[in-house]
Amino acid sequence: MVAYLIRRLINAVVTLLVVTLVTFGVFFLVPKATGSDPALLYIGKQADPIAVEGIRTKLGLNDPIIVQYWKFLKGIVAGRDYSNGPDITHCSAPCLGYTFKTNQEVWPILIHALPITISLAIGAAVIWVLMGVLFGVISALRRGTIWDRTVMTIALAGVSLPIYFTGLLALSIFVYGLGWLPNADYTPFFDNPAKWFTGLLMPWVTLAFLFAATYARLTRANMLETLGEDYIRTARAKGLKERTVIGKHGLRSGLTPLVTVFGLDLGALLGGAILTEAVFNLRGLGYWALNGIRTNDLPTILGVTLFAAFFIVIMNLIVDLLYGVIDPRVRLG
């Protein structure tokens, strides 16, 4: 088990290395190939050639790509110094570099954005799992009835309607129309839990609607499959109450496959819910990702990508470990 864990952790690190390599390659090689210059992005197009050359030296853009990559990695682990003669800027570990536009350190920006994204993702996750499973089970048990059809139609709408539609609709109804909720805003949980909750409720529900729809469909399909299994017939033949048959024997195997999907979805969301954060103007990782893309800010994009990859890899690992617990047929090792 310990050996397995160590192997998986090494695996995770290697995966992250590959991700950095690929993103780094894409973001620093492509400008080279297309003839655009990262130094110009940093300093502005009308800059003095001497200043541009200074920036090049400072950012190490004249070094071979391998050396640049190595310095980037070293910066994450040990921090790095950007120097241009006497002008030395120290960026302490973990260093993801400076934003091109505002010359801020990327790491602190992302770390400050992280609680917003985590709050958004986890709150939405709770809602979508509860709703998705509840409606999925109802739909499976009432298969073919008006209940099933209603739930599945709403689910279809949920899957098809984009966030920027449902989000804006929710805003216009609940904030501007009925005035039930304050405009979406992030207040740190420990400052004021009630405000944290009301400020995030609408983004949660909007985001959860999209996922709950998928989960309802998945749950329905899994439950229908499970309820057709022989062991469900056995459970009934034992004389168990229908509630136990469904609630214990059915859900236990019907929901197990959801763990995989949930882990990946949550991992992906922790890397930033770009559309939701944009619609509700929450400055989480997704906001910075969008901002980075809009302003061609390579270090920010690189940083957000790394964060996202990190969460996916970690959630994947957690899901795999969890399977060793929830499915007795899976042996880790």
Partner: protein, 353 residues
């Protein structure tokens, strides 16, 4: 009326199934899974139900257990009397309490019939506690371990905590039997209990069922397509085809003097070690009928080599299950006149068996 009902009350067999009909309404049409089945069974006796896949044998047994109640598209009519209680009209809750208690079932493939995520022990404990509410876990656990030992599982305390996939096929079926027997059922239905097992294990499992039956005095319904199993265990045999009982009688009579051409076919397709090796076994030609669209007249006529020997009745009239004319309890649903049946059997069929 009053006379017959008082006689009925005194003499009703332990299990009496009368005119049981089970239909499923599906998108493709109505599936006539079982039509007009009647049979009886006393405690300590074994009834064998034989037939091809889709002949209605499993559906019959699931109907006795009331397992169609949860399926909204199933229509069940007729009467099922178990120990003087009618089950078809009984409340769901009442049948649920009998299920797994007074009547229990052993299923065909124990790997899929046991829950993969719960330990074998906990599944047996669960079965026990449903019917013994208020029993504490320790007592139930001891009972389960006791049952595992009883069905011949070595180291039952240790195996209690194992999952179904950690058992071998034979052990798994034993565990399944332990689960079915944990509440001392008086009616045990075994639905092809040995089909998924290899031959040596099959014999052990059949011995086990027989021993346990002697010990508990239960009535057993043995559903199988393996005539060898029936010959081994059953006191009485039902042969089913297309959802109907087409031959019924004491096991010995049905084997030694089968009356229905389909039964001849079944016997002819059985490998025999005690006879000379023939080039080929004789299968029953054709395929089982669709239960949605049964052939007119005798459902077997498209496959019957003797159809039409008695005018056109095979093609138009459904044969009724009647006294085969041999004395005793032997019944058959066939249009052939008894003398001709006997002649054909003696001259054409028997030499080839």
């Amino acid at each position: 009326m009053s006379i017959s009902s008082s006689i009925g009350a005194n003499q009703r067999p332990f299990l009496e199934v009368k005119d049981l009909t089970i239909r499923f309404e599906t998108d493709d049409g109505i599936v006539q899974a079982v039509s007009g089945s009647s049979f009886t069974l006393e405690k300590g006796e074994t009834l064998g139900i034989v037939g091809e896949s889709g002949s209605g044998k499993s559906v019959t047994s699931l109907g006795v257990l009331g397992l169609h109640r949860t399926r909204s598209n199933a229509k069940v009519t007729g009467e099922i009397w178990l120990d003087d209680e009618e089950l078809i009209t009984a409340a769901d809750e009442k049948v649920r309490l009998l299920r797994g208690g007074k009547m229990a079932m052993i299923f065909q493939d124990p790997l899929s019939a046991m829950h993969p995520y719960f330990t074998v022990g906990s599944q047996i404990v669960e079965a026990y506690r449903v019917h013994h509410p208020g029993t504490n876990k320790k007592v139930a656990r001891e009972r389960a371990i006791d049952m595992l030992a009883r069905v011949g599982i070595p180291q039952p305390e240790r195996r209690f905590n194992d999952y179904a996939h950690q058992f071998s096929g034979g052990m798994r079926q034993r565990a399944m039997i332990a689960m079915a027997l944990v509440n001392d059922p008086q009616l045990l239905i075994a639905d092809e209990p040995t089909t998924a097992l290899d031959v040596t294990v099959q014999a052990q499992i059949l011995d086990l069922i027989r021993d346990l039956q002697e010990e508990f005095g239960s009535a057993v319904i043995m559903i199988t397509h393996d005539l060898g199993v029936v010959a081994e265990l059953a006191d009485e045999v039902l042969v089913m085809y297309g959802g109907k009982i087409i031959e019924k009688g004491p096991a010995l009579d049905v084997f030694q003097n089968p009356q229905h051409p389909y039964t001849w076919g079944l016997l002819g397709s059985m490998p025999r070690l005690d006879r000379d090796v023939r080039e080929r076994l004789t299968p029953v030609k054709g395929t089982p009928p669709s239960l949605i669209n049964l052939p007119d007249g005798c459902a077997f006529h498209p496959r019957c080599p003797y159809a039409g020997r008695n005018g056109n009745r095979s093609f138009t009239d459904v044969p009724l299950l009647r006294d085969a004319g041999l004395g005793g309890e032997h019944l058959v649903a066939c249009h052939l006149p008894p003398e001709e049946r006997t002649k054909i059997f003696q001259q054409e069929v028997l030499p080839n068996l």
